[in-house]
């Protein structure tokens, strides 16, 4: 079913974009409903995926903006699983999650698609409608911001 397909394809993207699983589920649900309500504006049905992705991304940005204004205790389902990894790796992972807030919206989109979804630059370009070179630059800058933030935290 279409909802299942796009939840699987874009679910982790949504979680990484908003920062917690519950908010990501809300954003996905709202994106599906908005897509359903405005199907007439999808002029190219063969590009439904790209159209839906843009709606979802907007929902994620809105959800993040709302999330920043809410008390922390409302976010009870973190984005990341407790994994069976060495403590240092887990701490570094959490540090990245916190540092993502330093990125611009465009940098965050590109970074998440590259490093969380593992997409190629060509795929990202297709979904975002941006050039490959521009995307490489966004990801590079995002990595630099994150690296500096981590170096600051770790005193490296």
């Amino acid at each position: 079913m279409l909802v299942e397909r796009y939840r699987i394809e874009f679910g982790r993207y949504a979680t990484a974009m908003v920062g917690d699983q519950d908010t990501a589920e809300d954003a996905l649900q709202e994106a599906f409903i908005r897509a359903f309500q405005s199907l007439q504006s999808c002029r190219e049905p063969s590009r439904f995926k790209h159209w839906f992705f843009r709606i979802l991304t907007n929902q994620c940005h809105n959800a993040r903006a709302r999330r920043r204004t809410e008390p922390l205790d409302q976010h009870d389902t973190p984005a990341r699983e407790r994994a069976d990894r060495p403590m240092e790796q887990d701490e570094l992972g959490r540090a990245i999650e916190g540092a993502l807030n330093e990125l611009t919206a465009e940098q965050r989109e590109a970074f998440v698609m590259k490093h969380v979804d593992g997409r190629s630059y060509e795929e990202i370009a297709e979904l975002l409608g941006a050039g490959v070179d521009a995307l490489k630059m966004r990801v590079y800058r995002a990595r630099e911001v994150l690296r500096k933030k981590l170096e600051g935290l770790n005193g490296a």
Partner: protein, 186 residues
């Protein structure tokens, strides 16, 4: 900062990226039903429901090759002591042959409710007939929705499926129904 410490920092940075990505959660599957429940509440067409569709009279178009395959499966199922040689892959599972004519395609795969809509799990292979792609897949008894994925990008319904069902978003999925006796409607 000397070269050695830079290298170490780069390693730890890559480790951090990998640890972060590996820990990101997938939203729960319960979301699918929640979305569809809201969609149905918005759509008079959606309220009809799949069960009603199954119970209502439907026009069924069956390709001769599929009919022959289904008939042979049914015959073999009824033949005493021959179940192991039939289209049954295992108890409650039937082998189903899917076909798509796509002469321009480089790859064709099958995605559906039976494989979590994975694009990569079931690849069709070119047959001797020009442009014809086929795959034989074990499916459980019941109703399944599916689509073909051409060249990893174009999702298309099976033009020969006996029924298509609206996915609620203006597109359609193909339907295949398999009975407990192994008879396939497609």
């Amino acid at each position: 900062m000397n070269d050695k410490s830079s290298e170490l920092s780069e390693d730890r940075f890559e480790l951090a990226l990998a640890a972060y990505a590996a820990g990101i959660r997938q939203p729960a599957s319960g979301l699918d039903n929640a979305v569809m429940a809201r969609v149905r509440s918005l759509s008079p067409r959606g309220r009809r429901g799949f069960l009603q569709w199954l119970l209502a009279p439907q026009r069924v178009n069956v390709r001769p090759i599929v009919l022959a395959f289904a008939a042979s499966v049914a015959l073999l199922l009824m033949w005493p002591g021959r179940a192991a040689d039939t289209g049954l892959a295992s108890a409650g599972t039937v082998l189903v042959r899917f076909e798509l004519v796509a002469p321009e395609a480089s790859t064709v795969s099958l995605a559906g409710s039976f494989n979590s809509w994975s694009q990569d799990a079931i690849r069709l292979v070119p047959s001797a007939a020009p442009g014809l792609w086929t795959a034989t897949v074990p499916l459980k008894v019941g109703s399944h929705e599916y689509l073909f994925v051409v060249d990893g990008q174009r999702w298309i319904a099976d033009p020969t499926a006996h029924a298509q069902v609206a996915d609620g978003f203006g597109q359609t999925n193909s339907i295949i129904v398999i009975s407990p006796r192994g008879v396939v409607k497609s």
